[in-house]
């Protein structure tokens, strides 16, 4: 067995099987398959040089006709002769054998599609009368001049800008309050947590009912004599909304506020997740710090500013990064609350626009262009966050 690269055989085998699959599905040129078979067969023969008693490996040469052989033969070989393998070789083979099933799936369903999306975005809209025409970056040029795209992008930015900080601030406040030893902590935690495990479809159905322009609870609440000061032309909402260029009349019924409704619902939905994670982070902070700070005369706010804030920063950073990425892909809430994209496409987001273009207008190439732009934005944002924010994150406890 010395020097025999069994794991290489396995790896080439899996790659080669993937090449066969790709060719059969029309994703890869035909010459890839004999090339792979050649490489695989060469490897098998190379292996045989080290001992003809491993004739089982010859079966690997069946691979051009029976692709599974390229995976099954090395596996069978390892099962039969595994005990005689050297330590290093055993590690090499088992490492690859264990990692391959998941890795192959990742390659097929995540890595390849990423490139394929870019490839698709370079073509004109598929027309069944003629083959797809290569268009270069034309889709991206159209995208940059597309007012709906900019609208979707703007909406998504507003969504991120509103929901992520609001959610984090609220969650931090709630987590700190819960951590101070409120009675029925478990009950409150359940209360905050239930929305998170609730399906967004169901949650959106209720919120739609609460927001109903005629019979909704919220409109009744805002019209109640004790509370109507919120919603009158000189009320609180008017003060808040005027600077944003929104008119508060007909509170939830109006088109301009539909997106605010979506945002409020999202904050409600994700709050529990953030609370639970922040609570876990808070409970990891040793109590002695607070006791020491209290002895030194620090008040509640000083304690949290000087102890909680720096020590909780890894958790906050994690939630912030995840929140931004998640918020950029908001779809379900928007789709269920406003299936048509709202009045004048008021609630259009990037994911929703992508869905509309791809699966309602079946313009896959244009939708792929939208996806690639979203990818780019998220990538840049993540890298910027890592560069700028992570320096301020305190990882030592």
């Amino acid at each position: 067995m010395r020097g025999y690269p069994l794991h290489l055989l396995l790896s080439f085998g899996v790659l080669w099987a993937l090449a066969v699959l790709a060719e059969r599905l029309g994703f890869a040129p035909a010459f890839l398959v004999p090339l792979g078979a050649l490489a695989y067969g060469g490897l098998a023969l190379y292996g045989l040089r080290f001992g003809l008693r491993h004739a089982l490996l010859l079966l690997g040469l069946l691979a051009p006709w029976f692709p599974w052989a390229s995976v099954l033969v090395p596996l069978a070989f390892a099962l039969l002769f595994g005990r005689r393998m050297g330590e290093k070789e055993q590690a090499a083979f088992y490492g690859w054998a264990l990692v391959w099933p998941a890795l192959a799936l990742l390659l097929v369903w995540q890595v390849f599609p990423t490139f394929y999306a870019f490839y698709l975005s370079l073509f004109e809209k598929v027309n069944f009368l003629r083959p797809a025409a290569f268009a270069g970056l034309e889709n991206y040029q159209i995208l940059l001049r597309d007012p709906l795209f900019w609208r979707a992008l703007g909406n998504t930015f507003w969504y991120v800008l509103f929901t992520v900080p609001t959610g984090l601030l609220l969650a931090t406040a709630i987590a700190i309050l819960l951590n101070t030893g409120v009675a029925f902590q478990g009950f409150y935690r359940t209360l905050y947590f239930l929305p998170y495990i609730t399906a967004l479809t169901a949650a959106a159905a209720v919120w739609r009912w609460i927001y109903h322009p005629e019979f909704g609870f919220l409109n009744w609440l805002l019209g109640t004599p004790g509370l109507d000061w919120l919603n009158t032309p000189t009320g609180v909402f008017a003060l808040l909304l005027r600077p944003l260029g929104l008119e508060p009349q007909g509170f939830w019924a109006g088109p301009s506020l539909a997106f605010v409704a979506v945002m409020a619902m999202s904050v409600w939905h994700f709050l529990g997740y953030q609370v639970v994670i922040l609570l876990a982070g808070l409970q990891a902070i040793p109590k002695e710090y607070y006791e020491a700070a209290a002895l030194d005369g620090a008040n509640f706010f000083q304690q949290h500013r000087l102890i909680t804030w720096p020590l909780l920063s890894p958790t906050t950073f994690f939630l912030f990064t995840l929140g931004v990425i998640g918020a950029f892909q908001v779809f379900t809430q928007v789709y269920v609350l406003t299936p048509t994209g709202g009045v004048l496409q008021d609630t259009l987001t990037l994911a929703f626009y992508l869905y509309n273009k791809g699966f309602r207008d079946s313009d896959f190439s244009y939708a792929s262009a939208i996806a690639m732009v979203t990818f780019l934005i998220i990538l840049v944002l993540t890298l910027v966050q890592r560069r700028v924010l992570e320096q301020r994150v305190n990882y030592e406890v």
């Binding site: 794991h7 599905l25 029309g26 994703f27 595994g82 090499a92 088992y94 490492g95 690859w96 264990l98 990692v99 099933p101 998941a102 890795l103 799936l105 990742l106 369903w109 995540q110 890595v111 599609p113 990423t114 394929y116 999306a117 478990g186 359940t190 209360l191 947590f193 239930l194 929305p195 495990i197 609730t198 399906a199 967004l200 479809t201 169901a202 959106a204 159905a205 209720v206 609460i210 409109n219 009744w220 709050l271 529990g272 997740y273 639970v276 990891a284 958790t315 939630l319 950029f328 892909q329 779809f331 789709y335 269920v336 299936p339 896959f364 996806a371 690639m372 979203t374 990818f375 993540t382």
Partner: protein
């Protein structure tokens, strides 16, 4: 936080006319026990199921002989589409100073809903008196919707739930959702455990490369994958099958990372000892690492299950036929089709979220810890 849940439950118990009131009704009529008694008295069976074969119920409308109440059997899809109830016999007669309508179940099976609507003048009192939400004002005449009242107290209270359940093939939807989610959890867990163990504990050549590849995969948002994966599924001929719902999400980068963290945190001595005792990598994985990483497996399982059960976009894209739809899609279709029947809508929402909520209450500690663990790096 809890208000939407309360409102969901409250609305799911309201009658249509209660639901469509601007002023909120905090406790629906159906929840008042005195009305249960009335509803139960009207039906033949006190608890469930309407009338058995050959049984009948009689309604009396006191009044003069010249003015008969108008009784009709509605054939609208919402009110009556149960084929076994087709044999309802309606007899109208005037006896002892009252118009009497007798409904007989003439079929083999019991009907659960009596498909009868009666119109009669408002000034004439009813005997027996009906719960208020079985009455709907219509011009000069009251309209009695018997559907609301007869199937016993339980059927009366949960009328919206019965309506919602009968409006769509929910059983199939639930099976699809659970089958998809549980398969994803089981197979995904297995694959992720294998890969994570290799990445954490097996020193194989190319490990760094694989790790970097997986790290890079993490950066790609799910949206990018929608269209290429759809195309791939279409070319495989897998659209509208369980493969489409399950296979693309089997390999989870999140799961690999989570379990890898777990395996890294286990002491190396454990594995060295096993190795000296002659255990290979597979034995080490299945006998030592897997049992010790149970909390990690649970968090992964919870996340995957929640993600699969609550997913809307992916099933929406890759399935077309009702047989392949999941619960969320059924609900989504219900939301847009049910129109103004908010009671049934809220009832459907309630039973869609019920399995997860029940699961949460059963396994509360694991749930909370599982979620909390995802934040600890």
């Amino acid at each position: 936080m809890a208000f939407p849940f309360y409102w969901m439950l409250a609305t799911s118990l309201k009658s249509p006319q209660e639901a469509l009131q601007a002023k909120p009704i905090w406790v629906p009529e159906r929840m008042r026990p005195q009305n249960w008694v009335k509803a139960a008295r009207l039906g033949d069976s006190p608890l469930w199921g309407g009338l058995g074969p050959g049984r009948s119920v009689e309604l009396a409308f006191p009044g003069e002989e010249e003015k008969p109440p108008r009784a009709f059997v509605p054939r609208t899809p919402g009110a009556f589409f149960d084929p076994v109830a087709d044999g309802t016999r309606v007899e109208v007669a005037y006896r002892e100073g009252a118009w009497r309508i007798r409904l007989t179940n003439a079929t083999e099976g019991a009907f659960r809903v009596l498909p009868l609507v009666v119109l009669w003048p408002k000034e004439v009192p009813l005997s027996p008196p009906l719960p208020p939400d079985a009455l709907r004002s219509q011009g000069e005449a009251w309209r009695l919707e018997w559907v609301n009242a007869v199937p016993g107290a339980l059927g009366y209270v949960f009328h919206n739930y019965l309506e919602a359940w009968r409006a769509a093939p929910w059983g199939r939807y639930f099976f699809n959702s659970f089958f998809t989610a549980l398969t994803q959890v089981a197979v995904g867990l297995f694959l992720a455990a294998l890969a994570a163990f290799a990445l954490a504990r097996v020193p194989f050549p190319g490990k760094e490369g694989v790790f970097v590849l997986i790290l890079a995969t993490m950066m790609v948002p799910g949206e990018v994958l929608l269209i290429p994966n759809y195309v791939l599924l279409a070319r495989l001929g897998w659209l509208d099958t369980y493969y489409a719902l399950i296979v693309p999400w089997l390999a989870s980068v999140f799961g690999i990372f989570l379990l890898r963290q777990f395996y890294l945190s286990l002491p190396q001595d454990l594995f060295d000892a096993a190795r000296i005792d002659g255990a290979g990598y597979l034995t080490q994985l299945f006998r030592i690492a897997l049992p010790l990483s149970l909390p990690g497996l649970v968090s992964y399982g919870i996340f995957t299950f929640l993600g699969a059960y609550n997913a809307l976009l992916w099933p929406l894209i890759v399935t077309q036929s009702p047989e392949m739809r999941t619960v969320q899609l059924g609900l989504q279709a219900f939301v847009s089709e049910a129109g103004s029947d908010y009671g049934a809508l809220m009832a459907a929402s309630t039973f869609v979220i019920l399995p997860v909520i029940l699961g949460y209450f059963v396994a509360q500690r694991q749930f909370i810890q599982g979620i909390a663990r995802s934040g600890l790096k």
